[in-house]
């Protein structure tokens, strides 16, 4: 559980980070933010970046700002900062992200880039139609959350692009996220998030990416899931969890 060797670089600005990524392109560079996902993968040598570009020294990528009908969250904002910010469903959902130490280091941008299929941020982004703003050598672009996630650890992000911020619609609708795992702080076996205004549900843990369904009907959603029996978790159980969690999320979101 020791990483393979790599070179460490510290970026001082957004442009500087992109520059480093471009410069080092042949040496398999990787951004490191909170390190809560990447370092574990490096220790198991499942990830072997040749270069790490540390972006935590960039000072204008942290923070939460309401900008008209948009809520902008800097990519380096930690889960814990959001948890304490009183931002409705976003803050409430943070209680499900790992444990306190993880939430104090892990970042919103890191979660989105890492794209775990049950990550709360990925589910929330899809549920609320967030937009991912990224910066690359050719300038910046915005990607709709619905088009961002391609599979576990696989996104629309190019290797030389940096996630700068996540933009949510503002004000937030009545919404809630809830989940089940045997142990507190674990990635969910199944998670459900609902938006009561637009009557839609996002499920985590039932496919390779967050699954968006235009319904709040727990029975209907559970019945329609395309899930298979897996060792230790049958399709029947997963459907049952989905049914329960959609119901509970609706109850939590209801005023």
């Amino acid at each position: 559980m020791k990483p393979a060797s790599f070179e460490f670089h510290r970026a001082r600005s957004r442009a500087g980070a992109v520059e480093l990524l471009t410069e080092l392109a042949d040496g398999d560079p990787k951004i490191i933010a909170g390190g809560q996902s990447l370092v574990a993968m490096m220790n198991f040598r499942l990830a072997r970046p040749g270069h790490l570009v540390d972006i935590t020294g960039i000072d204008d990528m942290t923070g939460i700002e309401v900008d008209g009908d948009r809520l902008r969250i800097g990519a380096l904002t930690t889960h814990r900062t959001v948890e304490k910010a009183g931002l409705g469903v976003l803050s409430a959902a943070m209680r499900w992200v790992g444990h306190l130490p993880i939430r104090t280091r892990g970042t919103v941008g890191g979660s989105i880039a890492h794209a775990d299929a049950t990550a709360e941020w990925c589910m929330l982004a899809v549920l609320l139609d967030a937009r991912i703003r990224v910066l690359g050598p050719a300038g910046s672009r915005e990607i709709a959350a619905g088009e961002f996630f391609h599979g576990p650890f696989w996104t629309a992000l190019e290797p030389d692009e940096l996630i700068v911020e996540i933009v949510f619609p503002w004000p937030l609708p009545p919404a809630a996220l809830t989940e089940y795992a045997d142990r507190k702080g674990d990635f969910a076996l199944v998670a459900a998030a609902v938006d009561l205004d637009r009557e839609r549900t996002v499920l985590g843990g039932v496919g390779p990416v967050p699954l968006l369904v235009d319904s709040l009907d727990a029975e209907e959603i559970a019945a329609g899931l395309d899930v298979r029996d897996e060792p230790g978790v049958s399709a029947h159980y997963r459907r049952g969890l989905a049914r329960t969690l959609v119901r509970r999320a609706v109850a939590e979101a209801s005023p």
Partner: protein
């Protein structure tokens, strides 16, 4: 303001919850663990490990390893030529098949993670780079990944010398007429249970720092073991050294739980590499290795029948126990550790008149096993407590009442399993535990909420296994006694050795309390010396809740001998009879109104020895040993868990946990409670969370804490602990063992509580860890008629 430690109300140190002597250094980061030891020029080791569960090794090529920058050396089994580790029982071949565990795999690998070669490098990173460069060619053999596969006709053999992959097969007791008892019984209940494979999971993983010291002509090995002398013996034999040429030193330890009371291969290989290179070498096991390649435990299968009369009295017990011991037999306990424990002790606290058991250890292509806190008792107690619950249901008797009718109440009690139980509080603990739950209102809450269940576990635990008890198990190497040396220095302070070894249990505090009382000095004037084969005469280390019962008694005996000696010298100096003197409880010897302080006596013993009586040697020291001749002493407890099930998810929440324990006289009640709480957490882990699974190819599926679900503080409830005290008649201070009980009761209490909460469903669950899906399905099915009715 500093707080002075308080004596017990009777003016003794024993019985007082004085602060732990270990805490200041441990809580401020000033402890010294193996990984804190850094020697000049120290190198770092990593192991090339098998990627196959079962295969012949065609070749091991380390040439590329040696080319990796930073790598200093790499050794395979052939390079080091070490002797195998072999653990033996004194049993005939049809009961026990001896097998060898090579330090590094030779011609065959038997589990994924088995060490094949050691890589030594300038830093741990380079060592891991080196390990990646090794080329091992395998000729795969069929992997044996379950006890049933191991026992199947024509199964591949994990060890060629062990037919049907069976290492231990004993049939014991077989009370005459037992079949007739079953045939005529009013009620027969049956339990089939399987318990999951677990890792004892000490927070500190295994590790060693070894160096050859030319001045001492010694191989010095710092390692976190519970059994330093046994490591010395195996290491010396394996490396061809004299025992005097090996010194094993144990620094602070972050837990062991049994996993470290066997001799590991990696520490031997690390020491051998240091010997070969004449340079210090460090190996620190990482968590992934700890989960997949250290020692595991607890994977057992029970098929048990029990006969009851109409009043709910148990009449006979018939058990078959199969333990999946993995790839190797551990030293010194052997693969017999689990099946022999289960077979010998299963009747437990109940008056079982007829008993028959078959206990087997099978070998499979999984990481090997070692004792783990409680050793089989968490499993067989769980099964016995399921038996009691099932009988209660079948007969319509309250489960606590049914237990009350069956527990042993008259002592000493000679069990059907040829064991004599010394006095305990089996019934009293049941009564008190039930009363606590009643007073707290849990039975009422259960009455109004069908999702709430209450489960009990009543058990005793043999502690203080002396050489007699281990000899009865037919171990070839028979642990048991402890020997203690004590020395008083010029200023009247005392150093005392113990052959036991604290790896978290506060012996520096509790042993000091025992010795302080014997001599009448403050407990902080007593230094405990442990965990160093050069400083401790001999020792069996700490396991099986033996430390306070046996080690504490030896320390007490040496202190008493020293006290005698102080009196003899004082009597001579005061010119009175020895009989007229006594220790005055304040650091002196008194005779009538005359008194000599220990410092005054010590001054004579060391600095003016010409004043000593003729037949008294200079200095102030004594040696004493202690062993338990009979069947040991039985601690006991009743545990109760209250759970609530979540019908929507199958989730289990523990609402309340109560433990009524009796470990005789508690030397330090706070320490006892700490042991109980930690043990209960581990028991809950086994009931609800932890399991090391393997796939069909023998690949371990739990290589990190993502998959191995050790519970956190969030999953462990607050525990209420009540104490009862039935003193032991033959240990110092009447203490019984307190190290393992928590772990033993918890799986049964939790499993029974879950089943109680499923009472409306007709479903019973007997396997652990309890699958949430099974709970979900049971509750879902039970709710269906209600849905239809709507």
């Amino acid at each position: 303001m500093t707080r002075e430690p308080h004596l017990h109300r009777d003016g003794t140190w024993v019985g007082a919850s004085v602060p732990r002597r270990e805490d200041p250094r441990l809580l401020t980061g000033r402890g010294r663990f193996v990984d804190d030891i850094r020697l000049p020029g120290m190198l770092h080791a990593a192991f090339v490990r098998s990627t196959e569960a079962h295969a012949r090794i065609a070749s091991v090529d380390l040439s590329a390893v040696r080319e990796v920058p930073g790598v200093v050396a790499a050794f395979s089994a052939a390079d080091l030529g070490l002797h195998d580790i072999v653990a033996l029982l004194d049993r005939p071949l049809h009961e026990f098949v001896p097998t060898a565990m090579p330090v590094l795999a030779k011609d065959k690998v038997r589990f994924v993670g088995e060490p094949i070669a050691i890589v030594v490098a300038r830093d741990p990173y380079a060592a891991e780079d080196g390990r990646e460069a090794a080329v091992v060619e395998y000729e795969p053999l069929p992997p044996i990944t379950s006890d049933s596969a191991a026992l199947a006709e024509g199964a591949a053999l994990v060890h060629e010398e062990a037919p049907r992959n069976t290492l231990v097969d004993v049939s014991l007791f077989a009370t005459e007429g037992i079949d007739e008892v079953f045939a005529a019984a009013h009620t027969v209940v049956e339990v089939r249970a399987r318990t999951g494979r677990q890792n004892a999971l000490p927070l500190e993983t295994r590790g060693a720092v070894a160096e050859w010291d030319d001045r001492d002509e010694q191989l010095r090995v710092h390692t976190c073991t519970q059994v330093p002398h046994q490591v010395r013996t195996v290491l010396a034999a394996s490396a061809g050294l004299d025992e005097k040429e090996v010194r094993v030193i144990v620094p602070d330890m972050g837990g062991g739980f049994g996993l470290k009371c066997v001799v590991g291969r990696e520490e031997i290989a690390t020491a051998a590499a240091a010997l070969r290179l004449r340079k210090p070498v460090k190996w620190i096991e990482d968590r992934s290795e700890a989960l997949t390649a250290s020692f595991l435990a607890r994977e057992q299968r029970y098929t048990v029948r029990a006969a009851f009369d109409a009043d709910g009295r148990i009449q006979a017990l018939d058990a078959d126990v199969v333990c999946d011991m993995g790839a190797y037999s551990c030293y010194p306990f052997t693969a017999g550790i689990e099946p022999l424990m289960a077979s010998a002790e299963m009747p437990g606290v109940y008056k079982v008149p007829a008993y028959r058991v078959r206990g087997r250890a099978v070998t499979t292509n999984k990481a090997p096993t070692a004792p783990y806190r409680g050793v089989s008792r968490p499993q067989y107690v769980m099964v016995m407590e399921r038996v009691m619950e099932k009988a209660a249901r079948a007969l319509g008797i309250d489960p606590v009442e049914l237990r009350r009718r069956n527990v042993i109440t008259e002592f000493p009690y000679r069990g059907v399993n040829d064991v004599t139980y010394d006095p305990g509080s089996y019934k009293e603990s049941l009564d008190l535990c039930e009363q606590v739950l009643r007073d707290e209102g849990w039975f009422d809450r259960r009455g109004s909420d069908p999702a709430i269940g209450i489960g009990f576990a009543c058990f005793s635990e043999r502690t203080g296994y002396g050489s007699g008890a281990f000899a009865q198990r037919k171990m070839a190497v028979v642990p048991g006694f402890d020997v203690s040396e004590i020395r008083m220095d010029l200023d009247g302070t005392v150093s005392v050795t113990t052959g036991t070894l604290s790896h978290g249990q506060s012996h520096e505090t509790t042993m000091a309390q025992i010795v302080a009382d014997r001599l009448g000095i403050p407990y902080d004037k007593v230094k405990i010396v442990q965990g160093d084969t050069d400083r401790v005469l001999y020792g069996w280390g700490s396991f099986a809740s033996r430390s306070i019962t046996i080690g504490g008694s030896a320390a007490a005996a040496s202190a008493e001998k020293l006290g005698e000696r102080l009196r003899v010298i004082a009597a001579h100096l005061m010119d009175v009879d020895v009989e007229s003197t006594e220790l005055d409880g304040a650091g002196g010897v008194r005779a009538g109104d005359r008194r000599l302080s220990f410092t005054e006596i010590a001054e004579v013993a060391y600095l003016r020895s010409h004043l000593l009586p003729k037949d008294v040697e200079p200095g102030l020291s004594a040696t004493a040993s202690f062993d338990v001749g009979g069947d040991g002493t039985f601690s006991n407890a009743t545990h109760a868990a209250v759970v609530r099930l979540d019908p929507g998810t199958g989730g289990v929440e523990i609402l309340r946990y109560v433990c009524v324990e009796d470990c005789g006289v508690a030397i330090n009640p706070k320490v006892v409670e700490g042991q109980a709480r930690g043990g209960i957490a581990q028991g809950i882990a086994g009931a609800l969370f932890e399991e090391v699974r393997y796939d069909d190819a023998g690949q371990p599926l739990a290589a990190s804490f993502m998959e191995y679900k050790v519970p956190t503080a969030a999953e462990i409830p607050d525990v209420r602990i009540e104490h009862l005290e039935t003193p032991c008649a033959f240990t110092a201070n009447g203490a019984k063992g307190a190290g393992e009980g928590g772990t033993i009761g918890a799986p049964a209490a939790v499993l029974n509580a879950v089943n109680d909460a499923l009472r409306h469903t007709g479903v019973e669950l007997d396997d652990t860890p309890i699958p949430r899906e099974a709970i979900f399905r049971a509750l879902e099915r039970a709710a269906e008629p209600a849905l239809e009715a709507r």
